[in-house]
């Protein structure tokens, strides 16, 4: 038997084509049928305009794209032995902005994109989670919009600012601005404590063992209870391989393929189009079924995202939960909400570290248009996982731009008989509803995939 279903509410839509055998999914194809051509749009554009274009790849993780672009452009300077000096303040302001965007996204994702589907599995009626009307939905959207104000203080607005630029950032916040940012973080922390986990953040961050799951109260407890009632800790498992490309003050790069290795070489990244559509029809194979490409690291599929970051960084609570429940749907969702607490704490610390007397921006001595030719790469950790940009410039224009988004790592098509990370996670499911939940657990971004 074959079923074809459209999944909405994943920042766009995808088609889930399942093959069933003995009431279980034996094969699955995840089709992204839209293509927006950003890599083509960027071609021949003036180099710095990339800072305006790439945030518009995605209305949710635009600042991650911005940071990847600015780092790729700064990498061009480095490759010309003209490495730019960035002040600590500029580095902090960039990372803080990105973290705020991740915090905002995680809050919205839990309440708007996964809980409405999770509560359908509950024996109780949990109307508080109803979209647009429920108390919890409204509270979460309110907190998210308050939180993002702290990014607007340094970026001018959100979504879609280009406040990072080679050499630093464009804004120069006052101490009072930083205090306001702290206030917004504190409001979000209060929400985390009062509503999401029901205990103080400091106590939550002290969790070390999976038994601590029972200490969680609040809305996350609803998720944990429903999960164990429905054995979500047993479904959605994939290769249990994890990848983190971005390196920052908040996250560590590395990969786990049975054992943890904290070294990443971009040379090992490979992007394939065997099962993907192509703008050049002569290159499209008969098997092609999606606009998403396939991303491999050292010839293997890896999972990227909050679970990968927690495992690579060995954050004790999630690591122990992961030891028990592996890369299940349960662990994946829990890791994302754990990361929310971790980032709230971390981002407050980072704001505190800013020395307002430092420069925000140091003008590069040479302009990128002075280079006849240049290449650069940048990778950052976005809400949904590792994001990679690879740019090539010629005489002040972009000659090639390649973007690999987190959703491509997680949800691209399998190749050579090997299932991709999400395909492997879905195969074996005994209901379509569960398969859709597993898909959702990756925090799918259709617009990013269809860049």
């Amino acid at each position: 038997m074959k079923t074809v279903d459209i999944v909405e509410r994943i920042e766009g839509e995808a088609k889930l084509v399942c093959q069933w055998d003995k009431k279980k999914i034996s094969d699955v194809k995840i089709q992204f049928l839209n293509f927006r051509g950003f890599e083509f749009i960027l071609k021949d554009k003036p180099v710095l305009d990339a800072l305006v274009y790439t945030p518009r790849i995605c209305g949710i993780c635009g600042q991650a794209h911005l940071k990847a672009t600015v780092e790729a452009l700064e990498n061009i300077y480095k490759n010309h032995n003209e490495e730019l000096t960035l002040t600590n303040k500029a580095k902090l302001l960039r990372e803080i902005g990105l973290n705020i965007e991740i915090i905002d996204s995680h809050i919205k994702w839990f309440y708007m994109f996964i809980m409405p589907d999770i509560v359908k599995f509950s024996q109780n009626s949990l109307d508080e989670y109803s979209p647009l009307k429920g108390k919890k939905w409204l509270e979460a959207s309110g907190v998210a919009s308050e939180t993002i104000k702290s990014l607007a203080i340094i970026g001018g607005q959100w979504p879609h600012t280009s406040y990072m630029i080679p050499g630093g950032v464009i804004s120069d916040p006052t101490l009072l601005d930083l205090v306001s940012m702290q206030n917004y973080m504190d409001q979000a922390i209060r929400f985390y404590e009062d509503s999401l986990v029901g205990i103080e953040l400091d106590n939550y961050l002290d969790f070390k063992k999976s038994e601590d799951l029972y200490k969680v109260k609040g809305d996350l407890k609803d998720f944990i209870t429903i999960s164990f009632e429905n054995e979500f800790e047993k479904i959605g498992k994939s290769y249990n391989r994890h990848l983190v490309l971005g390196d920052s003050l908040s996250f560590e790069k590395g990969k786990v393929n049975r054992k943890l290795i904290k070294n990443i070489d971009y040379e090992n990244i490979e992007e394939l189009t065997i099962n993907s559509f192509d703008i050049d029809k002569s290159k499209v194979s008969k098997e092609a079924y999606t606009w998403s490409k396939t991303a491999l690291y050292a010839n293997n599929f890896y999972e990227t995202g909050p679970l990968a970051r927690a495992v690579v960084q060995d954050r004790s609570f999630v690591s122990d939960v992961h030891k028990h429940y592996k890369d299940s749907m349960f662990t994946r969702v829990l890791a994302r909400m754990d990361e929310l607490g971790f980032l709230l704490h971390k981002t407050k610390q980072l704001i505190k570290q800013i020395d307002i007397n430092e420069e925000s921006y140091i003008k590069p001595k040479v302009s990128l248009s002075d280079f006849k030719y240049g290449v650069g790469q940048g990778s950052v950790e976005a809400c949904r996982g590792s994001l990679y940009h690879d740019v090539e410039i010629e005489n002040g224009k972009i000659s090639k731009y390649d973007v690999i988004t987190p959703t491509v790592w997680n949800l691209g098509p399998g190749v050579d008989g090997k299932l991709s990370t999400s395909q492997k996670a879905i195969v074996g499911s005994d209901s379509l509803e569960k398969a859709k939940l597993i898909l959702r657990s990756f925090d799918v971004c259709s617009v990013c995939t269809t860049h």
Binding site: I6, E8, E11, G12, E13, L33, N34, F35, R36, G37, F40, I41, P46, L48, D49, L51, V52, Y53, R56, I57, C58, G59, I60, G62, A90, K108, M112, F113, S130, P131, L132, S141, G142, A144, S145, I148, K149, A152, G155, G156, Q157, W158, P159, H160, T161, S162, I165, G167, G168, V169, I170, S171, D172, T174, F277, I279, S360, Y361, K363, V447
Partner: protein
């Protein structure tokens, strides 16, 4: 509020988009968002509602009061399809049931960033994508709420005023006059630097005007950003990022982060000001070296 009065029905369609307008809406002031949700019936939004799928919506007979469209439109199915149809087909079916049609953001208005994908030559804004026969049910001209993204307040103000007064006055590009007759420049905290022609020495400073070197299009761009502020707290130009003219027909332009100059003077001068007038004034202003404007604001 009298709950017996039927709330106007809203459908939000996403076409070729980055979803930035949706997330701008979700970033609205929480009280305003709540009032909006209490006052209207948001029947369908692909990212937010769970009751019905697009396919069900298309099959329903029910009328739509306000159809809001985010993203550009194409009739090319190879590049873009939603629920097995082109965005153009879906749009036309929905418009025929609607009273008002509102383009949310620059892509829906004119094609925007997505129109730059030239390999698909058929990417259009709403007005271009629809023929006369498609819009027979509309009781008002299409409203273009431009901006990349749109400001959530523009959506609320438009919906509430159409609900109350049934019509609003539009400029020649289909934008509400009361929003887009202002310039982004109006209300910028850097205005004094503009008056005295004191340019920002570089990015990353509180001081100086971004019109002279950083490409700011505030004096030529129709929007009231600096009147109503973004996320309740700031604007790009206040923070130090040049206005990139995202509410205009020709967005995105080339070289958005630098000012094209001719003998040291910006090539384009503020809207409606003659080059001669501008040059004379700039010349005079520059002869006065005002210490306060050349020092740090906070010493």
């Amino acid at each position: 509020m009298n709950s017996k009065i039927k709330k106007p029905k809203i459908v939000w369609l996403q076409a070729i988009t980055c979803n930035g307008n949706t997330h701008s809406l979700l970033s609205a002031n929480a009280n305003r968002l709540k009032l909006f949700l209490d006052s209207f019936d948001l029947v369908y939004h692909p990212s937010l509602t769970t009751d019905i799928l697009l396919d069900d919506l298309l099959k329903k007979e029910e009328d739509i009061d306000f159809l809001l469209v985010e993203g550009a439109i194409t009739s090319n199915k190879e590049f873009f399809q939603i629920s097995d149809q082109t965005t153009s087909e879906v749009l036309k079916k929905l418009v025929l049931k609607s009273k008002y049609l509102i383009a949310v953001g620059s892509c829906a208005s004119y094609g925007g960033v997505h129109k730059k994908f030239e390999q698909n030559s058929d990417i259009l804004g709403l007005e271009e994508a629809l023929e006369k026969k498609d819009i027979l049910s509309l009781i008002h001209p299409i409203v273009n709420l431009t901006g990349c993204p749109v400001h959530p307040e523009w959506i609320f103000q438009t919906l509430f005023s159409l609900k109350e007064y049934k019509q609003m006055s539009l400029d020649e590009k289909g934008r509400p006059k009361e929003i887009y007759s202002y310039l982004a420049h109006h209300g910028c905290t850097r205005n004094e630097y503009f008056e005295w022609k004191v340019e920002a020495k570089s990015f990353g400073l509180k001081e100086g005007c971004l019109f002279y070197g950083q490409g700011c299009r505030g004096p030529m761009t129709h929007s009231n950003c600096n009147k109503i502020l973004w996320n309740d707290v700031n604007t790009k130009t206040r923070a130090g990022m040049p206005c990139i003219g995202c509410t205009e027909f020709d967005f995105p332009r080339n070289n958005m982060l630098e000012t094209k100059k001719n003998i040291g003077i910006p090539d384009e001068v503020p809207l409606g000001v003659s080059k001669r007038a501008y040059l004379s004034l700039a010349g005079v202003a520059k002869t006065f070296k005002i210490d306060r404007l050349n020092e740090k604001i906070i010493k």
